[in-house]
Symmetry: C2
Subunit: 394 residues, 2 copies
């Protein structure tokens, strides 16, 4: 069939489901009980679970859609990828292993078969990279591209990582570079000016923008942390670091002190913000040190209060730090070969995942505190704000 | 909190999730592994499965939304009910037992806390009536009420009912009264005129309209049929009877002959259509017999080609007919007490579920055939049309 055909012009839904089934080929056939053409996907328990009394299935569901989740320039492949990734990140946050993915997609009127294939390929590449399979879907025509995904995972009950078990004295750790998604969003919304002529950084790399448009759920890191036995509590940072720290705090009944100076940042994020600031202050006498300090402060704000990063935030007793460091080191030795199975568009710019200690859990009933950088190391309550799906960010 | 508060005016999503958690109280606490506040719902395998090597989990996902699925006059409770029911019907069609339900809801801007509660109550009442629990959800603000549900069920592998195993000679059976949802839709869209002054039926009962607005998934009937061992193939009729018969035909490699005269109809559906026809022909001399025949023909059309009924269509070898009749008889003895657990609004007008033999599977490679009523019993190919989510019905 001509791939330029518009989906809503097809005689029936069935005429185009074939496009999906071609993309979503099951690798592990015995996963399903012969139900490929039926009302439900039937997943054989013995194809993934080992132990009824010791395992749990994990489930999460999340919607992404054109007007609120896909900034201009997001490709269809990325939209598919993102719709799976945001769901997978919820499994990552509990250290659970992805098994299967279902979705219900509303496709806009002008959507072609080629669009469908590229979008489906994004879902398939993400789901399959993280070890799961697409087992079902439902489609309809909608006024904007809207995808609700549901992800199914498996955990051993005894290694399931929850938000509620942080202990006083625990080290607070985060993976990756928080704030990068927030900065990417500002770039894509043209809120910050990066094309300047005075010799500073003038462009933003595609791989940097992937922090927002191709979130990389920390599935493998989550599984490794769950198996390590070192972690007391965990959550992802999709609503922003501050919001996630407050969640751990509220549910665990402990407080935290975060060291601003220790927050790990992507150097490109700092360069982009410095460039923007230089541009804004072109005709004023501002030193490079002042620009750097201000860029750092802006990035701290992005990291703490903006959503879109899908990093893991977790707490460990200090005695387990070297164990977790060793595990990450071993894990990252295979990073390059792991990324090999991604399609070329998804592979570029991927780098091993680091983690950083950014603070500690405290028993004092004062508040969640941030200790600012600078000479006098001022301690202030962390603001309780973050991304909220009621106030979407675009 | 004041229940008139508009949801999108609340400071954060968390402020109103409480409304949902109050409604979705888990009866079976050990179902979840202590994960009430986490990114995923974690369902303990040993809380519902018995046998890894003999059981499958079943999954389905489906979206309903304001502009395409809720005719004017549908209450918020009914919208909640329907969003669960359409998903549950997919489990019913495979004879699978519902375990859990998750949803992602887009709420419109003016939605109040009271609206949220009524809507959530509809979901909860439906899910809980059919023996499952709401284990997770996600909400955002959208331009129209949109709900994607995901249902999780459990089946023994050996009793899982698929579309593909119909055998030549099988009797083709349907539950309930097909066409009723289609007639209800025409009433709600004011396409048929039921308020007349000449003494005929002048109003449509609320319970009749429930055929469309409160679909009643045949979960218990599906489970009973799966356990009976009598059924070769099964599907639900949500896309219309003709479309479903063609599905069984295509996937099983058999054909069917349907006897129009045997199609079971709700007498109120016939009365409504008769009334409409009388109204249209008020000034012409048309006999009551002619009206009745025409009403019957219209209802045949609704039953075959319109979606919205959620009945079961299944095939059994003729030798198993009396067994299935007995099972339905026993099952219906408890119907009244079963409906007792529904809230009053959902209880009215519910009646025991009958099933009817409407045709048989044939090996002849001619087509799916309908044998029309009337003196000459004309045989014609069944049209291959039905409800399609690409051409939504409102």
């Amino acid at each position: 069939m001509n791939s330029g055909v518009i989906v809503s012009d097809l005689p029936t839904e069935k005429d185009f489901i074939r496009v999906f089934s071609d993309v979503f080929r099951l690798k592990n056939k015995p996963l399903l009980s012969g139900s490929e053409f039926d009302d439900c996907a039937a997943l054989r328990l013995d194809s993934f679970a080992k132990n009824l009394s010791g395992e749990s299935l994990t489930f999460s569901t999340d919607t992404v859609r054109e007007s609120t989740d896909f900034p201009n320039g997001t490709t269809l492949w990325q939209k598919g990828w993102m719709s799976a990734a945001v769901n997978l990140s919820d499994l990552a946050a509990m250290g659970s292993k992805p098994i299967a993915f279902l979705f219900s997609a509303g496709l806009p009127k002008g959507f072609t078969l080629k669009d469908t294939e590229e979008f489906a390929r994004g879902i398939q590449d993400c789901v399959s990279f993280f070890g799961a399979e697409v087992i079902g879907g439902d489609t309809e025509i909608n006024n904007e591209l809207t995808i609700t995904g549901t992800v199914i995972g498996l955990s051993e009950n005894k290694t399931l990582l929850l938000r509620k078990n942080a202990q006083p004295g625990d080290l607070l750790c985060v993976t990756g570079f928080p704030g990068s998604a927030g900065v990417s969003l500002s770039v894509l919304l043209n809120e910050i000016q990066t094309n300047i002529s005075n010799g500073s950084v003038g462009s933003v790399s595609d791989s940097f923008l992937k922090n927002l448009t191709e979130p990389f759920p920390r599935i493998f890191e989550g599984l490794m942390l769950a198996k390590s036995g070192a972690v007391h509590s965990m959550i992802d940072t999709s609503d922003g670091l501050a919001s996630s720290v407050y969640e751990l705090s509220t549910l665990s009944g402990v407080f935290f002190e975060i060291d601003e100076q220790s927050l790990p940042f992507d150097s490109e994020a700092l360069d982009i913000l410095s460039c923007h600031l230089k541009n804004q202050n072109e005709n004023q006498s501002v030193t490079d040190e002042q620009i750097a300090a201000k860029a750092h402060a802006l990035l701290v704000h992005e990291a703490l209060y903006t959503g879109g990063d899908y990093e893991l935030l977790f707490t460990i007793p200090s005695g387990k730090l070297s164990l977790v460091e060793e595990l990450f080191e071993i894990f990252n030795q295979n990073a390059a070969s792991r990324f090999e199975s991604l399609p070329s568009s998804g592979k570029t710019g991927r780098s091993p995942c680091q983690f950083t200690v950014i603070g500690k859990a405290i028993a004092d009933k004062e508040n969640v505190i941030i200790r600012h950088a600078g000479l006098n190391s001022q301690r202030q309550p962390l603001l309780k704000i973050g991304y909220d799906s009621f106030k979407k960010y675009i």
